[in-house]
Amino acid sequence: MTLLIGALTLGLIMALLALGVYVSYRIFATADITVDGSLTFGAAVAAVLIVVHGVNPAVATAAGFLAGALAGCASGLLQTRFGINSLLAGILVMTALYSVNLRIMGRSNVPFLGATTLSTWCGHLGDRLFGGGEVNLAGWAVNAQDLVQLGVMAAIVGAAAAALYWFFRTELGTAMRASGDNPQMISALGANVGRYRIIGLALSNGLVGMSGALWAQYQNFADAQMGIGMIVWGLASVIIGEALTGAPSLGYAIIGAVFGSVLFRLLVAIALGFGLNPNDLKLITALFVFLALILPGALAHLPRRRRAVEAA
């Protein structure tokens, strides 16, 4: 049960990453590797603020969002102002951020030790709500802090998903979606496509940075390596989400990204439980995304080829 709650909580934290990747991958049709850097950037900023400066963990988490947004802005500027290919712009910012993150943290790993984090708050809340210790959940004994943490993450992700849905239905957000869908059209309707791209990537990486800040607090340390390969995690979540909901509309796509992330994390937890070597995880994730990318095309080709054979 503790494993299950842990997987769900981590899945929800990663759902913010998935929402960020949804924005860059589905709205702007770019695989934005900045994510690998901005996740760590958000975690590093939050960790140093909390551990070194004793900042309120909620403020530190918000700072993680801002840090990610800054990284997104940088990527967006490289793409629009300097006309650099989006993939290359992401690689440049990600690489630069690696050094920046080490500078910020001063070393490659910052443990929270006894510092007050969101997890500490969740423990206090657990004490007050359930008198601490174990809670009986449908016959299972569950740690109160874990349970509260799960609830808090669900609330944060729910709020973020709702805010994202609301934003993409406003005048600004609708124009932003159009700038990814048909830049020529929205430019003729008076929108500055480059500026929308910068704002969009800032929003995307802001969510990723916040995800990093929450993840660091959950696992009780920030690490310079924690962002590596996370773009692929995000892509996997978005793709699973689309398979789950069919993504017929914006709302379903956003909900899909959240549930895709949680489901993916559950599958990983189960695989690890059955003895999967954690070192193989990124390889399997990459293979999964590869299959998800080629399968629809391969399936579409099958009947046509058969028809061609019949015609011959």
């Binding site: 239905r169 600004l172 159009a178 309707l189």
Partner: protein
């Protein structure tokens, strides 16, 4: 009043692909006039339209919209004056978004976009009424993704979107060239109706002589980046397809003896 003075544009300058697309074009378009621009392939007619829209900036020359100089304005800033329909029916609409959302975008053409709800409920009624006027049965499908519609339907919707807020200048770039004859006819009739009703200042590029004769109150014929002939009023009304063909034939004949060839002959025989 739209004024274009001595507009010049060269693409790929200094390379073997250099194209002098506009060689000092000047044009004044009076308010409410409907100008048809006619020309051969590569004559600069689409370049002229794109120059007005701001798709690129001129190398030299000046553009004024209603007394405001817009020469250095980027496309998205000029959008507050300009409504536009493209040749490609897929260019004017966002395919993944619904009909209603596309119109919500068009309703903010050239205006600031904030955090207000893009598609307030009160707009849907008005939107359904206007879309019903197309008589395409699309008023019941406002939440359908626009990418699922036919080229003709999308072009009709683009035209309605471009003119939802009355544009100071409507630019039509061979907007029926990619459609089947029946849809093209439908879109042309819609174009005429909207322009007449709203008394829109319009520039329409076409390579159809028949459209040029039937539509508008002024014909501008272009060739090699310059205005070849400009007819309006009674002159325009007298023009027939054969007259236009004759004019282009004249040019073609004259070109067989271009200046360098004439010089060569003069040197040999005089």
């Amino acid at each position: 009043m739209i004024r274009l003075s001595d507009a010049q544009k060269t693409f790929y300058p200094g390379t073997i692909n250099e194209v002098r697309a506009l060689r000092g074009v000047s044009l004044e378009i009076a308010d409410g006039s409907f100008v048809v621009v006619l020309g051969t392939n590569g004559s600069g007619k689409s370049t002229l339209l794109n120059a007005l829209a701001g798709s690129f900036l001129l190398d030299a020359g000046r553009i004024d919209f209603d007394g405001t100089e817009v020469t250095r304005w980027p496309e998205h800033k000029r959008a507050r004056f300009v409504g536009r329909v493209f040749q490609n029916p897929f260019s004017g609409t966002a395919p993944a978004m619904s009909i209603a959302e596309n119109f919500a975008l068009a309703m903010r053409r050239g205006k600031s976009r904030g955090l207000a709800w893009a598609l307030p409920r009160r707009l849907r009624g008005e939107l359904a009424d206007r879309v019903r006027s197309l008589k395409m049965g699309l008023e019941d499908r406002l939440d359908t993704a626009i990418g699922t519609l036919s080229g003709g339907q999308r072009q009709a919707l683009t035209l309605l979107m471009a003119t939802w807020l009355r544009p100071g200048l409507l630019l039509l770039d061979e907007h029926t060239a990619a459609l089947d004859p029946k849809s093209a006819d439908q879109v042309i009739r819609l174009t005429e109706a909207i322009i007449a009703r709203e008394r829109l200042t319009t520039l329409m590029v076409t390579h159809s002589m028949q459209q040029a004769v039937n539509l508008g109150d002024r014909i501008v014929m272009m060739h090699r980046g310059a205005v070849l002939h400009d007819a309006s009023g009674a002159d325009k009304r007298r023009l027939r397809v054969d007259d236009l063909l004759d004019r282009f034939e004249d040019v073609r004949r004259r070109e067989l003896l271009d200046p360098s060839a004439a010089e060569l002959l003069a040197a040999a025989y005089v």
